[in-house]
Symmetry: C2
């Protein structure tokens, strides 16, 4: 068991109509001039953006808007947001959307409050000293960025996708209204459920420090997401199922499901980041496409965890050798992905990578993690390439 | 499912030797003049208080000390602390101890930052506008006050024990070093485990709003505490078991295990508060002594929850009627209390109450909750009296 810090200062306001509280929450956290940052047109078309600006107008809160955050959000828009904030004297960020809008807003927040190029933080060159205060109205349950300390940005030049984490960017508040996620396409819902599970699975498959209370809560969370992902496939407007998944999304990535362990494995995420940078695939689908290949490559060196996962999460019977049980758990997980129409390899993901592409991704991935990474099994560049090859 | 707020801003620093970080944490949260508030002599005898003052001395942080917080902490000492803080210009509170020291410090914090009599808040006459910032070094895993919004104070005149809750008093940081709990007497350890479980059980036994993710995490937490309470009975210096229980204590009462429900039942706590006010019994033991009588009185009106508890937490087989399963769960819970040497009635608790005492407690309890309270079953004064009678 390792020492740990647990810090989740985000005030979560959860449930129906909670976006009505946005103005009072901004005021509570001292916001006077707001940048409303969002992604594509759905926030406009659904009327949510208009409702939010109406509420801010009525409360006398001044704001400017910036849309256009795309999945795997781009550094260019971050620079644009930083300029806009400085020009307009923005002192509070409100992200309306999913992980793309939130992560982009976090990067803007770093850029406004720190001198120099904001990409330096994502390029591991230096650390941020501050971030603008940030609030969130969440419209997609997936990345957990609404409570997390992390953000992921893609630099267009060279398609480099990198994450940066610090407590400064943890949102001050997060408005989670499950109704706002009801109109998501099935594919996005399934991608979100996959991402949520992976945030906890990355913390679960480790070779050190696990606590029973953390494991038991992680397993409860994973079972809940699987159950409700299946419900949402048939009944996308089921409020309770939307709520279970939405709350799971925040808890899966706020640190709770990793307390006491060695920090987690995170290699499925790192391998997917290269995919996402190069091919602009949906993050959740990319994770599903990689996970099985990663799992089969590493499970023998993390057997007790894979066995426990198979039994406690996937419901595999405790029969046969540990290896057999572990493999049945991996197969059951892939069956679940297929059941919610997620890919289990790069082909199904729609990625037609050449051997040269795989070599490039493995190299970029290795550089990105500083040479080698992974707790279930420490992976070097040749391991990463091997996993990419198997995942084709 | 109900809308909910979840707000746990406390920075938790968990693990071995973490008290070494106390000075930097106080500085991080702006403390310049500290009141170190503690309870009995164990904090002094163990050397912990001396280590803490050495660290503050070395860091150049000025402080005054105030000991003497007793279980069911008294209003008189709170008044004394308020005077001391005002006289010394204290701007930060550091509670070193368990729930008594923390709750007493919270009340002092209210008293320093609000005009008028601090008891008004506990007497439901008005609400606090602020609280001094507070940090905690925890030495007993039990009340969860290190992350919670609540505090309970006893007014000596009339022995009135009342709680007051607001986000203002949530600690800024909590230092949780399981090693500091290793020298606790077995009885205090068992009382703590009981209290921890009850904080989650009060939220679990409701007639409304339950979420699957909340339930699954609550059940994981409860199973973990039971398992490790048994380990600690045999091996009190088991670090991992101490750590599981300590972290469970914080999570059991920071709000996590009640998200989405109707607010919880809380009548076992309310019934115990009258016991604790009148007889000065250990809180955890008082809860164990009352719970079974409460459970048998209410279970028929909350049958699905008692059935689920029996199966998922107590491991009762799904055989027989729902009532039979529920009753087996209650019996198994009482067996667990007996296994860790907790009382299951007032007699075993050592309370020799007359019928007149019971009538007085039921009346005070009913007044304290504003007439009637309870989600598993709404209890009025006559119900409270009936439960007290059965618990003798």
């Amino acid at each position: 068991m390792f020492n740990f810090k647990y810090y989740t200062p985000t005030k979560v306001v959860f449930g129906k109509d909670t976006e009505q509280q946005v103005a009072e929450l901004i005021k509570e956290f001292g916001g006077k001039k707001v940048l409303i940052h969002y992604g594509g047109g759905s926030v406009v078309r659904s009327g949510l953006l208009g409702r939010v600006t109406d509420i801010l107008d009525a409360a006398g809160i001044s704001y400017v808007t910036l849309g256009g955050a795309v999945p795997n959000p781009h550094l260019g828009l971050v620079y644009e947001g930083i300029e806009l904030c400085k020009k307009e004297g923005v002192d509070f960020l409100l992200a309306v959307g999913g992980g793309s809008a939130i992560d982009s807003a976090k990067a803007i927040g770093y850029g406004v409050t720190n001198d120099g190029d904001v990409w330096d933080f994502y390029d591991y060159k230096r650390k941020a000293d501050a971030c603008l205060p940030l609030g969130v109205i969440l419209t997609i349950a997936a990345t957990g960025s609404e409570m997390s300390d992390s953000s992921v940005i893609t630099k267009e030049e060279g398609l480099v996708k990198r994450g940066y984490s610090s407590d400064y960017c943890r949102p001050k508040f997060a408005i989670l209204n499950p109704e706002l996620t009801m109109t998501l396409p099935d594919y996005q819902t399934a991608c979100g459920c996959t991402d949520i599970m992976m945030h906890t699975m990355e913390r679960y498959f480790t070779n050190g420090g696990n606590m029973e209370i953390t494991d038991s809560m992680a397993e409860g969370l994973l079972c809940t997401v699987m159950e409700n992902a299946k419900i949402l496939k048939k009944d996308p407007k089921n409020y309770d199922a939307r709520a279970e998944v939405m709350w799971a999304g925040s808890l899966a990535h706020n640190g709770l499901t990793g307390c006491g362990n060695d920090g987690g494995d995170w290699m499925t995420h790192k391998l997917e980041h290269e995919l996402g940078g190069l091919y602009d695939v949906a993050h959740g689908a990319g994770l599903a496409a990689i996970w099985g290949s990663w799992a089969r490559y590493v499970y023998k060196e993390c057997l007790p965890r894979f066995k426990r996962y198979a039994i406690n999460v996937m419901g595999v019977k405790e029969e046969g050798t540990d290896e057999e049980i572990a493999l049945k758990g991996i197969e059951a997980m892939e069956d679940f992905y297929r059941e919610i129409n997620m890919p289990t390899n790069l082909r199904e993901l729609g990625v037609k990578a050449t051997e040269e592409d795989l070599v490039t991704m493995a190299h970029k991935c290795a550089v990105g993690v500083g040479g080698a990474m992974g707790s279930a099994k420490l992976l070097k560049e040749e391991d990463m390439l091997a996993i990419y090859r198997v995942s084709m």
